[in-house]
C-alpha cells in the first residue's frame, strides 16, 4: 500500500493552528454583515424578480436600506415589521420597502423580537426548501449510485445555457460523472446575480437560478438514461457567493466551487467582505450537504509549484478550518490541489506523486479534488494528451476523490465535444489499467518521494505557525498565499460591509447556525 511518511502530531498541530486562525477571523465575521448576506436572506424568505432594467428586487431593497444607514439592523427586521404592518408575504413586503415613498423607521413600532417572531414561518419554509432539495438529491444518489472514484469531472462553457445542456448530456454519454458549467468571465465581480435564462456570455455561462434549473434538468435526464448519478457543479464565489449558495441549494446542485480566500487573492475582493460572505455561503452549503471544491490549485498558476507546494497544504488546513466553523462536515470539504509542476523538471512526476499522496493521507475522509496541468500546456495537443495521462496515473494511484480531467486543447479553446470525449476515454483507460496500483506498491522510506512529503508538511507547518502568530489579515497583506498581497480595506466590495447593530436580526441565518 502506497503511503508517505506523515508525522501525525504535526498534522494535528497544523489543524489546531488553522483552527485558531479561523476563530480569530470568525470574531470579526460574527460582528458584521454584508449586502450579499442580506440579499441572500431576502431570497431565502421568498423575495424574487427583477425590474425592467434587470436589477433584482433584492438589490434594490438592500441598496436602499444600506444607503439610508439602516442595513446594520439586518434586512429581516424590515421584512418582519412590514409583515406586522399588513404585507401579504415577503415579496409584498419587499416591494413596499423598496418602492414605498418613505423609509421604515426601526426606532418606532415593533422591535427586533416581534420582527423575528413575524418571520418564523418564512424562516422555517426557507430551511424546508433546502432540506427538501437535499433529500431529493440524496434519494436519487442512493438509487442511481455515482461512478467509482476518482469521479471524472468535466466542464462545459459555451455561454449559452441551452448549448451547455446538450454538451452536459454528451459528456455524460462519454462517461463523465460530474459536469461543471464554467461561469461567464468576471461574473464574480458583479454585485448582483443576473435574472433568468441566459444565452450570451464570454468565457462561460452566467450563473443564474433559472440556468441552474435548466442544467440540473439536463443532468437529471442524463442520470436516468445512463443509470449513473451525474453531479452538477457551479460557482459559489465572488461578490454573490452566498446568494449563489442559496440558489445552488434549492436547485439541487451537488457541488459548488467555494473557497475561503480565492476571491481575495485572485479576484481582488475585499478580505472582510469575502470572509463574511464565505461564512454565510458555507452555512447554507453545510445544511444542503453540497460538496465544496476549494481553489488551492490556483495558487500554483501564479506561484511556483515546487517552491510553493506547502502553501497549498497550509491553505487546505485553513479552508478546512473555515468550513468546519460554518458547520461543513469533512465528507463535504473537497480540498483542491493540482498537477502543475514544470514537466521539464527531472523526476517532477515523483514530486507530484508525493504531494498527492500526502494530501490524501492528511485529509483521508475529504473528497479531495485533483486538478490537471494547465500552466505548462502548449498548443501541442499530442504532448498535452500524454501530460494528462501522467496526471491521471497519479490520480488513480493516490486515490484522489474527484478528478477534473485535463483537456488536450487546454491553452487553445474551450473544450469541444471531441476533446472531452478523448479526455474521458483516456482517463477511463488509465483508471482501469492502474486501478489497484496504489494498493500494491510502497515507496522507499529514505527516497525522494518520502523526503518531499516530509518537507512539504514541515514547511506548511511553519507557514501556519507564522500565520497564526501574525493573524490572517496580516498574512494576506504580506502575500503569504499565491504570492498575492491584499490589504484589509482594499479590493472590491468593502463598502458593502456593515457592523451589526445591537438589535441586528437574521432569523434564517440563526436557524442555520443552530442546525434546527
Amino acid at each position: 500500500m502506497l503511503t508517505v511518511p506523515m508525522d501525525a502530531a504535526k498534522v494535528a498541530d497544523c489543524r489546531s493552528l488553522a483552527a485558531s486562525v479561523a476563530r480569530d477571523v470568525q470574531t470579526y465575521v460574527d460582528a458584521h454583515t454584508s449586502v450579499g448576506v442580506e440579499r441572500t436572506t431576502l431570497r431565502a424568505l421568498g423575495v424574487e424578480g427583477a425590474d425592467d432594467q434587470g436589477a433584482p428586487l433584492v438589490n434594490l431593497l438592500v441598496d436602499r436600506y444600506a444607503a439610508a444607514g439602516l442595513l446594520d439592523r439586518g434586512i429581516a427586521t424590515f421584512i418582519g415589521r412590514s409583515l406586522l404592518a399588513g404585507a401579504a408575504d415577503a415579496q409584498d413586503a419587499a416591494e413596499r420597502l423598496a418602492f414605498g415613498p418613505a423609509l421604515d423607521d426601526p426606532s418606532q413600532g415593533p422591535g427586533a423580537p416581534e420582527a423575528r417572531q413575524a418571520l418564523e414561518s418564512l424562516t422555517q419554509r426557507a430551511i424546508e426548501r433546502i432540506d427538501q432539495a437535499r433529500d431529493t438529491r440524496e434519494r436519487t444518489k442512493a438509487r442511481l449510485q455515482a461512478g467509482p472514484a476518482p469521479l471524472k469531472y468535466v466542464i462545459v462553457a459555451t455561454g449559452n445555457i441551452f448549448d451547455d445542456a446538450l454538451q452536459a448530456k454528451a459528456a455524460a454519454f462519454a462517461g463523465a460523472d460530474i459536469v461543471a458549467v464554467i461561469r461567464a468571465t468576471a461574473q464574480s465581480l458583479l454585485d448582483y446575480v443576473p435574472h433568468g435564462a441566459t444565452t450570451e456570455g464570454y468565457g462561460g455561462t452566467f450563473a443564474t437560478q433559472e440556468n441552474f434549473r435548466i442544467i440540473r434538468q439536463a443532468t437529471d435526464e442524463a442520470s436516468e438514461k445512463h443509470q449513473r448519478y451525474i453531479f452538477q457543479t457551479n460557482y459559489s464565489s465572488g461578490l454573490c457567493m452566498s446568494e449563489i449558495a442559496w440558489m445552488g441549494a434549492v436547485e439541487r446542485l451537488d457541488m459548488l466551487l467555494n473557497d475561503a480566500m480565492y476571491g481575495i487573492l485572485f479576484r481582488d475582493i475585499n478580505p472582510c467582505r469575502n470572509f463574511i460572505d464565505q461564512y454565510a455561503a458555507r452555512r447554507i452549503i453545510a445544511r444542503s450537504k453540497i460538496i465544496i471544491n476549494t481553489g488551492e490549485d490556483n495558487y500554483l498558476t501564479t506561484a511556483d509549484a515546487v517552491e510553493k507546494a506547502h502553501t497549498v497544504l497550509a491553505s487546505q488546513f485553513l479552508n478546512e478550518a473555515f468550513a468546519k466553523t460554518a458547520g461543513v462536515q469533512e465528507a463535504y470539504i473537497g480540498l483542491g490541489h493540482a498537477y502543475e509542476i514544470d514537466p521539464s523538471i527531472e523526476n517532477s512526476f515523483l514530486l507530484e506523486l508525493a504531494q498527492a499522496q500526502l494530501i490524501r493521507q492528511v485529509f483521508p475522509d475529504h473528497p479531495i479534488k485533483w486538478m490537471p496541468p494547465t500552466k505548462f500546456k502548449t498548443g501541442d495537443i499530442f504532448q498535452s494528451h500524454v501530460h494528462d495521462a501522467m496526471f491521471n496515473l497519479v490520480g488513480i494511484t493516490t486515490h484522489q476523490s474527484i478528478e477534473l480531467l485535463g483537456m488536450f486543447s487546454e491553452a487553445i479553446h474551450n473544450p469541444m465535444v471531441m476533446d472531452r470525449y478523448l479526455s474521458l476515454k483516456s482517463a477511463r483507460y488509465v483508471f482501469s489499467t492502474a486501478r489497484a496500483l496504489g494498493d500494491e506498491i510502497s515507496i522507499r522510506p529514505d527516497g525522494l518521494i518520502a523526503q518531499r512529503a516530509v518537507d512539504v508538511l514541515n514547511q506548511a507547518h511553519e507557514l501556519l505557525a507564522q500565520v497564526a502568530s501574525e493573524g490572517m489579515w496580516k498574512a494576506i497583506e504580506r502575500g503569504a498565499f499565491a504570492d498575492v498581497k491584499r490589504s484589509t480595506t482594499g479590493g472590491k466590495g468593502y463598502k458593502g460591509v456593515f457592523q451589526k447593530h445591537a438589535n441586528y436580526i437574521n432569523p434564517w441565518m440563526t436557524a442555520l447556525e443552530g442546525g434546527s
Binding site: 468571465t185 465581480l189 468565457g203 471531441m418
Partner: protein, 252 residues
C-alpha cells in the same frame, strides 16, 4: 514564436506535407460528424476528408462520442502544395539578444531603465501570460523582465480597464505598454485592443510609447493591423520580448 524567416523561401519547390517519404502529402485529421456510426457514416467521413483535398483516405477510427455524434480519425495524402517564395508575412524583425547584450545595450545607449507597464485588460482574469513575461520567475527557465537591470517592470494584473492602464502608464512615464489577452470569445480581444490604441492616441501617448500585444491568439500581423508595434503569440519567451523592447526603445 514561430518565425517564417526569408531564408526559408530559398527552397523554390512548393511545400507538401511530409509523412513517410518526401512529398507524399500525408496528413491526419480528426473531426466529429453529426451521424451515428455505420457503414454509411464511414463513407461520409471518407468523402468529407476527400473534399479537404485528401486522396486514398483511411478512416482509422469511428467511435460514437455522444448521442448521434461520431468521432473520426482520418489519414490521407494531401494534394495541396504551397510556394514559400510567394509568401509575405510581417515578422518581428529584431534579433533575439542575450541577457548580457540587452543589459549592455540599454546601459550604453539609454543610460537608464526602460519602464514597462503590463496588464491583462478588459474582463480577462487570466494573468498566466503577463506573469510569465514580466514576473521575475519567467517561464520554463527564461526569467521575466523584472529580472533584468535594464527594465523597471510593473505588472498591473488582471481585469484592468484601458483607461486605468493609460493612466498608470502616464503616471509612471512608461516607455512600453504590454497588453495580454488570453480569454476571448467572438473577437472581443480585438475590439478591446483597438480601443486601447485609440485611447493612447487621444492622450498623445501612441507615438511616445512602444505598444505590444500578446496572447495565444495574437500574432505579429494581427497586432500590426490593430495598431500595435509588435505582437507576440504562443510560445513567446520573456527574452524575445526583452530583446524587442531593448532594441526598439534604444533605436528611438
Amino acid at each position: 514564436m514561430i518565425r517564417a524567416s526569408s531564408s526559408d523561401a530559398q527552397a523554390s519547390a512548393p511545400l507538401r506535407a511530409y509523412g513517410d517519404r518526401r512529398n507524399d502529402g500525408m496528413v491526419q485529421m480528426s473531426f466529429v460528424l453529426e451521424i451515428a456510426p455505420s457503414v454509411r457514416a464511414k463513407e461520409a467521413a471518407r468523402q468529407f476528408a476527400e473534399l479537404h483535398g485528401l486522396s486514398e483516405v483511411l478512416i482509422t477510427t469511428m467511435e460514437p462520442c455522444a448521442d448521434g455524434l461520431t468521432y473520426f480519425v482520418a489519414y490521407g495524402h494531401s494534394r495541396h502544395a504551397v510556394d514559400p517564395a510567394a509568401i509575405h508575412v510581417p515578422e518581428v524583425a529584431t534579433e533575439v539578444l542575450s541577457r548580457d547584450a540587452i543589459e549592455a545595450l540599454v546601459k550604453e545607449r539609454l543610460g537608464r531603465k526602460i519602464v514597462v507597464v503590463g496588464a491583462c485588460t478588459g474582463s480577462d482574469a487570466h494573468t498566466v501570460g503577463i506573469d510569465a513575461i514580466l514576473n521575475y520567475k519567467g517561464f520554463a527557465g527564461d526569467k521575466g523582465l523584472e529580472s533584468y537591470k535594464a527594465f523597471e517592470a510593473y505588472n498591473l494584473g488582471a481585469q484592468v480597464e484601458n483607461d486605468q492602464l493609460i493612466e498608470r502608464a502616464r503616471a509612471l512615464n512608461a516607455d512600453v505598454i504590454l497588453v495580454s489577452q488570453i480569454i476571448t470569445q467572438r473577437n472581443c480581444h480585438k475590439e478591446n485592443a483597438r480601443a486601447l490604441i485609440d485611447l493612447a492616441s487621444a492622450h498623445g501617448l501612441r507615438d511616445r510609447v512602444v505598444m505590444l500585444l500578446g496572447g495565444p491568439r495574437i500574432d505579429h500581423k494581427l497586432a500590426l493591423e490593430l495598431g500595435f508595434d509588435a505582437g507576440f503569440g504562443q510560445g513567446t519567451k520573456p527574452s524575445d520580448v526583452a530583446s524587442f523592447i531593448a532594441t526598439t526603445v534604444c533605436a528611438r
